[in-house]
């Protein structure tokens, strides 16, 4: 029972982790709460749905397609909305982000309808028995894909020149500008990476959770609660936060009831705000 809950937790955690990772990257570099990432997640799910059902594209090919679309859309949001607004305060860009979320979610509602969709997942018939708990093939695939994406992002941030520039801007913007880093390039890369991760998360989730356009707001709100819980702008905070929230959510669903499971992430967020406002892994003298 406990093991089964932990296994279920793993796949919801890993999907939150991808969205939270993108959000925290953008927060770190630009100090923007980019709620439009939720819309990119939703469009990732629809990309998988339409690619597999209308065009007969295999699921494994739909994943990179959704990542490219997500990256381009996030970069487009940055160029069209956020960049022109950069001289305004963080609150202004947050409002603009909510506006974008509202626009994209309702465009999807207009054109894709409010029907719930579910993508036919690969490996659905494979089942692994782990000490009495079942792990489906698709859940294993999600865990594998997310691990690859997270390690890939980490390696990108750690070892490539652009990734290092990104971390530098995130840690100390003025210092990074002094040594001649190009903020435009770094910001664009942050959005491309975040968009690709959110698109991937949407595609991967489309095979396990039925979705409609309103998933955009639901997912990004939860992911943001995780970012606050883990520490704003912190990459390990996003990952560890997602794991803890996913586990707590599934335990609540299994042991209490499913209605309150929805609130778990928010309760953890409020607790951490009361006790430690900078979050689990937040910077010590945060921009709070």
């Amino acid at each position: 029972m406990a093991l089964q809950l932990a296994l279920n937790a793993l796949h919801s955690s890993s999907l939150y982790a991808l969205v939270a990772l993108g959000l925290t990257l953008i927060l770190g570099v630009l100090d923007i709460a980019d709620f439009a990432q939720g819309a990119i997640y939703m469009l990732g799910a629809y990309t998988a749905y339409f690619a597999t059902s209308l065009f007969g594209v295999p699921f494994f090919l739909a994943l990179p397609i959704a990542m490219v679309i997500g990256a381009l859309l996030a970069a487009g949001n940055y160029l069209v909305v956020y960049r022109p607004l950069r001289r305004f305060s963080g609150a202004t860009t947050f409002i603009a982000a909510l506006g974008l979320l509202l626009i994209l979610q309702n465009l999807a509602l207009q054109f894709f309808g409010a029907d719930f969709r579910l993508v036919k997942a690969p490996f659905a018939n494979v089942r692994l028995n782990v000490f009495g708990a079942t792990w489906t093939g698709y859940q294993m695939f999600i865990a594998f894909a997310v691990t690859v994406l997270v390690i890939g992002s980490w390696a990108f941030l750690k070892f490539t020149p652009v990734g290092m520039a990104l971390r530098a801007v995130s840690q100390n913007r003025r210092g990074a500008l002094v040594v001649g880093l190009d903020p435009f390039k770094v910001e664009l890369v942050a959005f491309l990476l975040a968009g690709a991760l959110a698109g991937a998360a949407g595609t991967l989730a489309s095979g396990v959770n039925a979705f409609d356009p309103s998933i955009a707001a639901i997912v990004v709100i939860k992911a943001f609660a995780i970012v606050i819980f883990g520490g704003m702008g912190s990459v390990p905070g996003a990952i560890v936060g997602a794991l803890i929230v996913g586990l707590a959510e599934n335990l609540t669903a299994g042991l209490v009831n499913t209605q309150y499971a929805e609130l778990t992430a928010f309760v953890l967020m409020i607790l951490v705000l009361l006790v430690r406002p900078r979050g689990l892994f937040g910077p010590p003298e945060a921009k709070l």
Binding site: A33, S89, I95, I103, A225
Partner: protein
């Protein structure tokens, strides 16, 4: 030394006296004109649909004026205001359904809003800048999730139906506001509350408390250093604003006779926010202009599907932020100042 500077100050104010007097007179004329328009409105627009919009505008003015205490007054961009309205609406509806008089419902709406505001403000106000906005936004959503899930109390997504109409029993004068058809009477009731809240907002802005808020808005660290208890000042403002939102919720519940979690979602919080920004945050006229404009706009968009209406809404919002960061009232003020500057 001190006398000299005081005399200097008096001299300065005497010099400015002429222009100030003219401006005060203009403000009075404009204020009276707006009041006359508001009183005449339901007799100019006589259709039920138009009168319905008038009542909604009135309720939105109450909400936006209270929100402006946070946004315009303290620079606290709260994005969960509709949730406090919802808390007040449920509290009032449940009590009046259980047999309490309407006045008790109104008071309960006020208190429930205040309590919710206090509970939310305690953690949320620990964060500054847009992190505060994000948390109020998320908490607003939590409150609607609770309304949906506490089925025993709220009947969940089904909502509360058959909420009794407002009954007033004043000095032997009884009246029941049957608002489904007869909207004018309730409109004046709402208008009275709107005027009261606008007055309160205006008086608060000029009080010691209002000046403390302005200081917090300008530079919180500086305000703290001159001895203003910033956290407490902000918490007070947040609680008062939420209380008034709760009152507006009560007015709304007994007007529509039906409420559900859908009436108080983050989209409505968002609309209120846009109204405040569009009208002009921190101005006297802003909380009136914003609701009138946006309510008219959304009724103009009724022909479109709700989804497309939201798309237009979002686009207008982004354009307003970029083109008119100080809102319509702020833009008019600037234009008037530019004009006066040219005349000199």
């Amino acid at each position: 030394m001190r006398a000299a500077s005081r005399a200097e100050g008096r001299l300065g104010s005497a010099e400015r006296g002429g222009a100030d007097l003219a401006r005060t007179r203009l403000t009075w004329v404009l204020g009276l004109a707006v009041a006359a328009l508001a009183i005449a409105a339901p007799h100019v627009f006589t259709s039920i649909a138009a009168r319905h919009l008038l009542v909604l505008i009135g309720i939105n003015i109450v909400l936006v004026a209270s929100l402006d205490l946070l946004i315009g007054g303290a620079g606290l961009l709260s994005l969960g205001h509709a949730a406090f309205m919802g808390v007040g609406a449920y509290a009032s509806a449940l009590l009046v359904k259980a047999g309490q008089p309407f006045a008790v419902g109104l008071g309960a709406g006020l208190l429930a809003g205040a309590l919710a505001g206090l509970l939310v403000g305690l953690p949320a106000l620990r964060l500054k800048g847009h992190y505060f906005s994000v948390v109020t936004f998320i908490v607003g959503i939590i409150i609607t999730i609770l309304m949906t899930n506490l089925v025993d109390l709220t009947r969940g997504p089904m909502g509360l139906t058959g909420i009794p109409f407002a009954k007033v029993d004043l000095f032997g004068w009884h009246h029941t506001f049957k608002t489904i058809v007869f909207k004018v009477g309730y409109y004046y009731l709402v208008l009275a509350f709107a005027a009261l809240v606008l007055l309160l907002r205006w008086r608060l802005g000029r009080s010691r408390f209002g000046r403390a808020l302005t200081a917090v808005k300008g530079d919180e660290n500086l305000a703290e250093s001159v001895g203003i208890a910033t956290y407490r000042v902000k918490l007070t403002a947040f609680t008062v604003a939420a209380a008034i939102a709760g009152l507006a919720g009560s007015l709304y519940a007994h007007y529509t006779a039906f409420i559900s979690p859908d009436s108080f979602t983050f989209v409505h919080s968002f609309d209120l926010f846009v109204m405040n920004l569009l009208g002009g945050a921190g101005t006297v006229a802003g909380p009136i202009i914003g609701p009138v404009f946006l309510t008219a706009l959304s009724s103009g968009l009724k022909g479109l599907s709700p989804a497309l209406a939201h798309v237009v809404h979002g686009t207008v919002l982004i354009l307003v932020i970029v083109a008119l960061p100080t809102g319509i009232a702020g833009g008019v003020k600037r234009a008037a100042e530019a004009l006066r500057g040219r005349r000199r």
